[in-house]
Each structure stands twice: as C-alpha cells, then as structure tokens.
Amino acid sequence: MVTRKQLQPVVRREERGLSRSGRIAVVLGLFAVVVFLAVFAAMAFVATEPPTVSFIKGHKAGSAVHLVAQTDGAGGTGIHPTWVSYQVKTPQSGKWVHTTLWQLPTNTRIDVTIYQFDSGGPLRNQQWGRVTGTTGNAATLTGTTFTVLNSYKRPVGHTFSVAALGINVPLAGVKTTEKGFCQSGPCNPGTQLHHTVTFSFKTPKTPGNYRFQCFIPCGAGHYAGNGGPMQTLGFMGGFLEVQA
C-alpha cells in the first residue's frame, strides 16, 4: 500500500514539471527500451538451437571418426518429447545427446552407425531407397550389405540425406507390434528393438555446414507430413559442421 508520505516527493516533482520536449524524450526513451526488449526476446527465442557435439576434439589427423546416432519415434526429452528425433553419442562421454548439429573434421572418413528404433512405411519417392554418396554407394543393414531398399516391401523409417554431398541412406523401420519396441528415447540398443545401419563417407576438403534431412514425411500431424520435427534442428533436420 502506498502512503500519502511516499506520494509527496512525486507530487513535488510534478509541481516542478518536465518540459514538453523532456516528456517526449522520456516517452521515446521508454518506447525504445520496450522495442529493444521485445526484439531481444524474439531473437533469443529464434536463435535457440540445440547443442553441438564435436567429433573434432581429440580426433587424431588421418584416423577415421566413429559417429554413433539413433533415430527414435519420440525423442523423449526437450520441448517436444513426442517428436521423432535423432540422438547422437558424444565421443567424449559416451552419453546420448538430443541434437543434430554434428561437428566433423574435413577430409576424414566418417564411419557411421545408426540404431534405427522407429517404425517405417513406403517412401514418398522410392528414389530415396538408393544408397548414394557413401563408400561404395552401399550400407549395411544388420550386417548385410545393400545398395537399394524397396520401401514398398521393406518399410523405411527415415533417410539420412545430405543433398550437398550426394549422400542418401535409407534406414529400415521396425515393427511397432514386435516385442521390445522403444516408445520414447533415448532408446537402448542393448535391449530394445532396432535395426543397425552402418556406412562410411568422407567429409569434403572444404569446411562448411552441410544440411541433412529425412525424406520420409515423418512429421505426423503436420501438413504433408513435412512440418514440425522434419524441419526443426535437433529433430530430423540438422547440419554436418565440417571444420578444418
């Protein structure tokens, strides 16, 4: 509660009064502060991005990088725990991190292992059933080498596709009806139903950010299946941050 005594200094100030230009300056100043705060808040919201996992720290030049990731039907953490997501294992601690920003060294062979825990379906375009851009344009699915997945007979959960590098690997989906289906990530490759897909590729000599995405419209509930997690960093959209 404000007392009369507390009000008195205010009254005296008012009696003294601000000039017209002074009042305009105060209003403009306050307006500028409000605009600044609004822009700052908006930028802070927009600029929020998932953490970056570095495969450069501790990497010996000339040796291959081993990148281990998993694709989950539901990430299980973060602001959208139900969204389909990648998780990647940090080379330093071995912990699963919910991110799709992966820092890789230039001109280096990357040996990738992806544990695919999500279910699948036919590709919207069977073109993405081909394996391209990897060593020998091939990958392995639970130990068997393949170059093409016929998604109409063997449902595909996701694709790991880096357009600028010509890389595309279809990741076969599991059946939700089978025992051990992982409902929410991070999933456990030791105990839960999954496919293991491996492949290798070489990072370019030129540093840069190379975008990867999934060509299965796995953004359920979004228009054409392509919204939400399909286009959001940290879920199915990401970057290979290739650095020297």
Partner: protein
C-alpha cells in the same frame, strides 16, 4: 498581400509582363531544343544499352527461352528509355531554362503554356497508346512464338514447339530437393539434371507434397510445381555450360536450401551419361512407380497411384524419336548388379 504577389506567387514580380512576353516569344525554339536534346540522348542511350549492357543482361543466352527473355527485356528497355528521357529532359530543361529567377522566364501561373493544347494532348495520347499497345503485341508474340518462352503452360500446352524431336524430362519436387526422371532412359530417376545441347526439351514439372517452382535460371525456364499437376514448359538449348536450379516458391523453412546445379552437355555426352546412369540406377528403377505425368503424394506401393495423362501427349512417342529408348530399356532389363538388393525381410 499585393496584387503581384497574389497572382505570381512571388513578391516583387514587377517584371512579370515583360517576362511573359519574352517567354511566349520563343515557344517553338524551346520545344525544338527539348526535342533535339531528347532525340540525341535517346539514340546514344539506346545504342549504349544495346551494345554494352544488353549482351550481359540475365538470364544470358544458354537456351532459346533465356536468349528470348534477354532480347525481350532489351527491346522493352529500349522502348522505355526514351520515355524516361523525355520526362527527364523536359524536367531538366524547365528547371534550367524556366527558373523563376531567370530573366525572361514566363510566369509559373497563367500564360499560354499553362493553357490546354488540344494538339499536344492528342499527340500525347496517340503516342503513349501506340507505345503501350506495341509493347503488348510484342510481348504476346514473344510468348507465343517460342512455345511459351520457357514458362509454364499447364498440363495442356497450346503453344508447342515446331520440332518433332522433343526430349521430355520430368521434374519432381519434394521438400526440399528436386529429382529428375528420364523416360527416355527407361524412366530412371536421378538427383542431377543433365540436358543435351541443341535440343528442344519439354520439362514436365510436378510435386509430391506442397507447391514449389522449378527455376532453371540460366535456361530461362520457370515452371510451377503443383501436386497432382503436370505443368509443361519448353526450351531449346543452344550453349554448353553449367546452370543453377532453384525453387522459386516459398515451400517451407528449408526453401532456401532447395537448389542444385545442372549441365548442358553435348548430345554424345548426354547419351553416354544417360546410358551409364540408367545402368547404375537400374536396381532402384524397377521399384519406382511406373512413369506417369503425376504421382499422388500419398501413393503407396510400386504400382504408383497415377493421374490420367491429360496433356494429350503419348509419353513415349516423342522419346522414341529421340533415339535412346530401345537402348535404355535393354540396359534396364539386362542389368546385372553385383550388389544385394533388400526387398524382403523381417525385423
């Protein structure tokens, strides 16, 4: 306020009578001066533009539609330049020669120049009408004669190329990459757009999800990609080189990343590339939906849910005349892959 100030708009215009007299004494001289300056500037400006800037105006001259777009822009610019110069010349002349402070300048209000002049008005209306209608006719002819000039004509093109030897290439847009199907080579699909030189190409553009736009910049081709629609556009290549393909319709957050590069190569190189790519992609081509002009975004199964061909074109008649079909079909049929193709299996 004095009478002078009220009529002339400036105080102390005591010499207004003599000014008007001086100003009206030489109206023809002013007009001929303006016309002379304008004609000289227009000729110089148009010639400089045509010979110096014109050949570099985008999108260049890699195809008939690109060079057509460049030619049209240059012609329209050369028509527009004299109009702009007429306004600027008149304005500049008025500012310099008819300044109120200049001795002998006419009064700004009143006087013969401020009165309507039927002849001038008629000339103005006739000349501007002729200019605008000429540009309209020119633009329409330039759109019709080169078979749509690289623009989209929908599924039933009314302006088709004179050549009977047209190479069809299907452009399939999907968030966020274009792929290309070549019915000429057994319906193979690739992520790379390669086209032969000196060839008339029919781009059949469609989408599997949202609306996109296929914009092959240096080819002078821009065709909307709509799901369920076979949008057709034509061009004729006439120069080897690399070109950029961009999506030109905001199609989602990664719209800006939806681009790739294509190449115009010689016919021999194109045949070689097509045959080897058909062989390399054969293992997957047999699983693609049968070639159709459109594909349902929700199509599941190798049969492919396809829309009726409403273009009036038989998909393979023109391809056969191009001469690669038999060879490509044989390649696809007889392909021997040493790799494993997984078609069945359990989890």
């Amino acid at each position: 306020m004095s009478e002078h100030a009220g009529t002339s708009g400036r105080p102390g215009a005591g010499a207004s009578t003599s000014s008007v007299a001086a100003g009206t004494a030489r109206p023809l001289q002013d007009i001929w001066r303006i016309v002379g300056i304008w004609v000289a500037l227009s000729i110089v400006g148009d010639l400089v533009f045509w010979f110096v800037a014109g050949p570099h105006v985008p999108p260049g001259d890699m195809t008939s539609s690109a060079s057509g777009a460049q030619f049209d822009f240059n012609v329209l610019f050369m028509v527009a330049l004299p109009v702009i110069l007429a306004v600027w010349t008149y304005m500049g002349y008025a500012v310099i020669m008819w300044r109120a402070s200049r001795p002998g300048a006419p009064e700004p209000i009143g006087g013969p120049r401020a009165r309507s002049n039927l002849k001038v008005q008629l000339w103005w209306i006739v000349v501007t009408t002729v200019v605008v209608l000429s540009m309209f006719v020119f633009g329409t002819v330039e759109l019709i004669v080169p078979a749509g000039a690289g623009g989209a004509e929908g599924p039933n093109p009314i302006w088709t190329p004179a050549s009977k030897n047209v190479l069809p290439i299907q452009v399939i847009a999907q968030q966020w990459q274009f792929t290309y199907r070549y019915p000429t080579f057994g319906g193979m699909e690739t992520s790379t757009l390669i086209v032969p030189d000196n060839t008339t190409i029919a781009f059949h553009v469609t989408s599997l999800d949202v609306i996109h736009s296929f914009w092959a910049y240096q080819l002078g081709v821009k065709i909307d990609a709509n799901p369920g629609i076979d949008d057709v556009g034509y061009t004729t290549t006439n120069q080897l080189g690399k070109f950029t393909v961009r999506c030109n319709e905001l199609c989602g957050i990664w719209h800006g990343a939806m681009y790739d590069y294509g190449k115009v190569v010689s016919k021999a190189q194109f045949q070689k590339w097509g045959t080897s790519t058909a062989r390399a992609t054969a293992a997957n081509t047999k699983y693609l939906p049968p070639f159709a002009w459109t594909y349902s975004p929700t199509a599941n199964g190798a049969t492919g849910v396809t829309a009726a061909n409403t273009s009036g074109q038989a998909p393979f008649s023109k391809i056969q005349t191009y001469g690669a079909t038999t060879k490509a079909k044989k390649v696809v049929k007889n392909v021997q892959t040493s790799t494993t193709t997984i078609t069945t299996g359990s989890t």
